[in-house]
Symmetry: C2
Subunit: 599 residues, 2 copies
């Protein structure tokens, strides 16, 4: 076989020629187009002259850093037991959190003041980590992330050369930089409506992202959500909104913000089929996709099986076998192969900007993540980082690098207290991710089981008569059982999105759904239930969503101890049951609604 000159490159495994990503620079904001590389960079090569006296850089000498070492006790990657990659039945006895049973397995990590190695992508020490660095990230950590991204997490990105990465200070920072890169502020007092830029997102969305975009005058356009996530067809679906765009509202959106796996708050996970439909629309209308994917490793094949077992027919889609293997080369890990892949795996154009974070895989306080996109976009994001955050803190970058890649030989000799000689490495990192999935999958099962078994209430005959009089029996599965709420078993993430069946409440016709739902939220926080859930209002991306948001609650199975998930869920169910037994409107304290309004 011959070879084509760059930029066309042949993929080694697939034996196909892949075109380079598209030039999407017409999407850059005015500011982003204007940014120039730091003028300092052109002097960098001089720093490399052997024996050069550096009188140029304004860098404090390492001797003035008060830290002589950074150390930690850290988990071994085996701390949590994984769950199977294929759909399984209900939890068995052995699916318990090993951390609750035994002394947690741990090892020691030590970042020395100065490491012997001269290889910058292996050199993890305070000399380098605590000095000024490059905006792309600390070389050892960035090299690890880049390898993970290109070879394991997204081994099938379909453009020549593959994607690049830049480290971020977490996904909120990553989103902020993406918005900076791709949007111009629209000032309603100054600008024509025809110049207003827009961003499509799920109608219920992560509000921190919305609150980043809204003050810039962007038109936030909510798209209908179903059990998978963003809908394509139907009224309010993506095709409807884009095909019938009303230009009196501004430009047709050129950006999409989406959480496609374990969507916050609705818990949906997009199938590959749905992704293809959405991607095709984004190609048709030239839309940049900002994919925020904090829960990608928390995918639960058991949700489908358990849901089906309880309900006869699952409300969700079986996502098993919609994985990397189905459309390309293997990630190298059975666990990663089992997961629904990123939009990057479909991204022939290079229009996907993916946000990752260590917040859910290590800890939110890291303020550490990365952005993956075509190299030209990463270059612009690097210019933005140089003028804002620069690189993430060297403290967290060094500690994470050392935990995963370390230890490197230290200059110091003697007993350094290190108990473990090896970092997690790539295998350990993937094993850790798999263990976290195990932990969260057991939590999901605990919560959903309690909710599934508690969603109906048995009404007495008086209520029976009342409901008969309402002439609506659709929610009655058994004559004297009424459904208080419903939900989809989440295939991923940390959340159960609960729809309150408020129309089955005895006082619905008297008080209306909104008043009752708000009173219910307050009621749940009271003794003896003491349950705080997130009201749907918190996630309404648009006014249209806000109008129906009262019917929803988001329950999260992450923040409590693993052993408390069932109790917290059962307490919520108890609260619902007690609330459904209130028959006198006077017992729905007006006080409660006003409490809500004063929130």
């Amino acid at each position: 076989m011959g070879s084509l000159p760059p930029p066309y490159q042949m993929d080694k495994d697939q034996q196909v020629y892949m075109p380079p990503p598209l030039d999407l620079s017409h999407h850059y904001s005015y500011t982003t187009k204007n940014r120039q590389a730091s003028s300092v960079k052109k002097f960098y090569k001089y720093f490399q002259i052997p024996g050069i006296h550096n009188l140029a850089g304004g860098l404090p000498h390492v001797s003035y850093f008060p830290y002589d070492t950074l150390e930690a006790t850290v988990a071994l990657p085996q701390r949590f037991k994984p769950t199977p990659n294929i759909p399984v039945g209900p939890p068995e006895d052995d699916l318990v959190d090993v951390a609750s049973l035994a002394q947690p397995a741990s090892t020691r990590v030590k970042v020395p003041k100065e490491s012997d190695t001269t290889n910058l992508i292996k050199k993890i020490d305070l000399l380098t980590a605590l000095q000024y660095g490059t905006a792309e990230g600390y070389p050892p950590l960035r090299a690890f992330v880049r390898k993970f991204v290109r070879e394991h997490l997204h081994p099938n990105v379909p453009y020549a050369g593959g994607p690049e990465v830049i480290l971020s200070c977490g996904s909120t920072d990553g989103f902020s930089k993406a918005i900076e890169a791709f949007t111009n502020v629209w000032n309603k007092e100054r600008d024509w409506i025809r110049d207003r830029e827009g961003i499509v997102c799920e109608e219920f969305a992560y509000m921190n992202a919305i609150q980043t975009a809204r003050p810039k005058g962007l038109n936030i356009v909510g798209i209908t959500v179903d059990e998978q996530g963003m809908a394509v067809s139907g009224p309010g679906g993506l095709a409807d909104v884009l095909d019938n765009w009303d230009f009196r509202k501004g430009r047709r959106p050129h950006l999409m913000y989406t959480v496609t796996i374990g969507q916050n708050p609705t818990g949906g996970t997009l199938s590959v089929e749905r992704r293809k439909e959405i991607y095709a629309l984004c190609q048709k209308y030239d839309i940049i996709i900002i994919e925020d994917d904090p829960y990608w490793n928390l995918q639960y094949p058991s949700a489908y099986a358990l849901s089906k077992q309880y309900r006869g027919e699952s409300t969700g889609v079986n996502l098993y076998n919609r994985n990397y293997n189905s459309h390309g080369k293997s990630s190298g890990y059975e666990f990663l192969d089992s997961l629904v892949p990123s939009y990057l795996s479909l991204d022939t154009d290079g229009r996907v900007v993916r946000l990752d974070t260590f917040s859910k895989t290590i800890a939110p306080g890291c303020r550490l993540g990365w952005i993956t996109a075509q190299p030209a976009i990463i270059e612009r994001l690097t210019r933005i980082a140089e003028s804002s955050t620069q690189q993430p803190s060297g403290f967290v970058q060094a500690m994470v690098a050392e935990m995963i890649m370390g230890p490197q030989a230290a200059k110091e000799t003697g007993d350094d207290g290190l108990q473990g000689e090896h970092g997690w490495k790539m295998d350990g990192w993937v094993r850790w991710l798999e263990g976290l999935r195990g932990g969260y999958e057991r939590r999901m099962q605990d919560m959903c089981t309690a909710l599934e078994e508690g969603k109906y209430i048995v009404q007495d005959s008086t209520d029976r008569d009342l409901f008969n009089s309402m002439g609506d029996l659709s929610d009655w599965e058994v004559v004297n059982k009424v459904k208080m709420f419903d939900f989809v078993w989440p295939m991923a993430g940390m959340f159960v999105w609960m729809k309150i069946c408020i129309e089955t409440h005895p006082l619905f016709s008297q008080l209306g759904g909104e008043k009752l739902c708000k009173a219910l939220w307050i009621y749940l926080t009271r003794k003896p239930y003491l349950c705080l859930v997130a009201p749907g209002e918190m996630f309404a991306a648009t006014q249209k969503s806000a109008d129906i948001a009262y019917q929803y609650m988001r329950l999260c199975f992450a923040p409590m101890a693993a052993s408390d998930v069932t109790e917290a869920s059962e307490k919520t169910v108890e609260g619902f049951k007690a609330f459904w037994q209130i028959k006198d409107p006077k017992d729905i304290d007006d006080h409660e609604e006003s409490l809500w309004d004063n929130l």
Copy 2:
């Protein structure tokens, strides 16, 4: 004495009523005015209900954080020997870096997984530091910084209630947020010139700041710099520029970016008198002052005395006794009292936004600093942080808090390896700052002594004749000595700003100054000199500055080992001397100038 109602408050020490800061919200950008507090906050009070089951927050449980402890070996605050607070003569034998003489004194720091205390400003543990937090910063560290700022660093801020603080990811991040808060992008293809906003700064400035402002279309307006820093009077001084503003260039600038202590690159330090003049102009023209002050603790009283000793008359201003004590209450520390104070100490209006960083006091890799301003501005900056960086990394916040404030009692029992029982506390922190000043002051003395003693070259009689023929003897102090460069002994900071007296070079009339200066820069990087200095071009804020920048070089005495400062400085001098001995234009390799142009 009676009391006035808020917002007028009586200062306890000064027994005066102070007015509140001005409402400066008309300076906010369109986006900044639009920002709203997170809707999640209104639910926070429910998190405080005793025994509440938290199903609301999307927070991973602490058991899933792989870090069980964070630890470090850190310096004791006494590691470096301070220098006297009053002007002194040349360095004496005992002014040596104690770190180079003995085993550095150190102690152990340990952040436990969970601390027993419930007091959030004393609770330093991984449970809190590695969880999501508030954008103002980690409560223990923010409380420490706030106390340091309000009681010790700026005890005399002249508005009621005093300033507030928010932690930042270093001063580049702080400046980026200030620009976001106070400027609207100006797009030359869209907007009227009359709407163009501007920012005044020193004509030679820290380019990272300029590169943050320039892509937004801001008019960067350079102000003439003298040995103190920004000039008020004279052509190109602040008064000239503002009084005679040419509105055909856009709006009169409403922002100032300034480094007032050890200015980068010129090394100047503004006297209190100069500050008062500049502040009065900023009041007259309603300008927000963004004061970037990374070198405030590196003030060198000996520079004045040494300069005077060498030169008969110092080129600088004696800044001693221009300190906090001269206009208000004491900082509580003799060291802090001796320093030239911030613009905040004059800020009756609340128009100063001060940027601080731990980059020079702990390490650049911290990516940690803080912003100080009137509370209303800090509130807006907090909204910006919520939608971008959130708080700085918990890793660095916890480690710095633990080093300074720790240790707190840990839940774990047994031998925890802690050798020291006490953190630095406020006294230790100030002592550490004073020790750093000592270290850098000795470096300044080493560099300036070598430069002072090497700035002349003895020319032979042939050269003597050549120079006589040029008819300009002004730079000749002794008949056969010619000055190659000049500089001001820096009263603060890390830099010596060297003016090349290129007109004294034998080939000046033949080749011109610019060609010679660029060739000199390349020449210095070569054997046997091997000196890399920062060319003036790197700091030219405007085209006007760029036109004269070739005459300048910035030398930094920070990046090398303390013991190498003299050698590096002497090598630079040797390079100059050799370069001044080149008499044949052919020996100024054309290659060298083209090398420069290709940089």
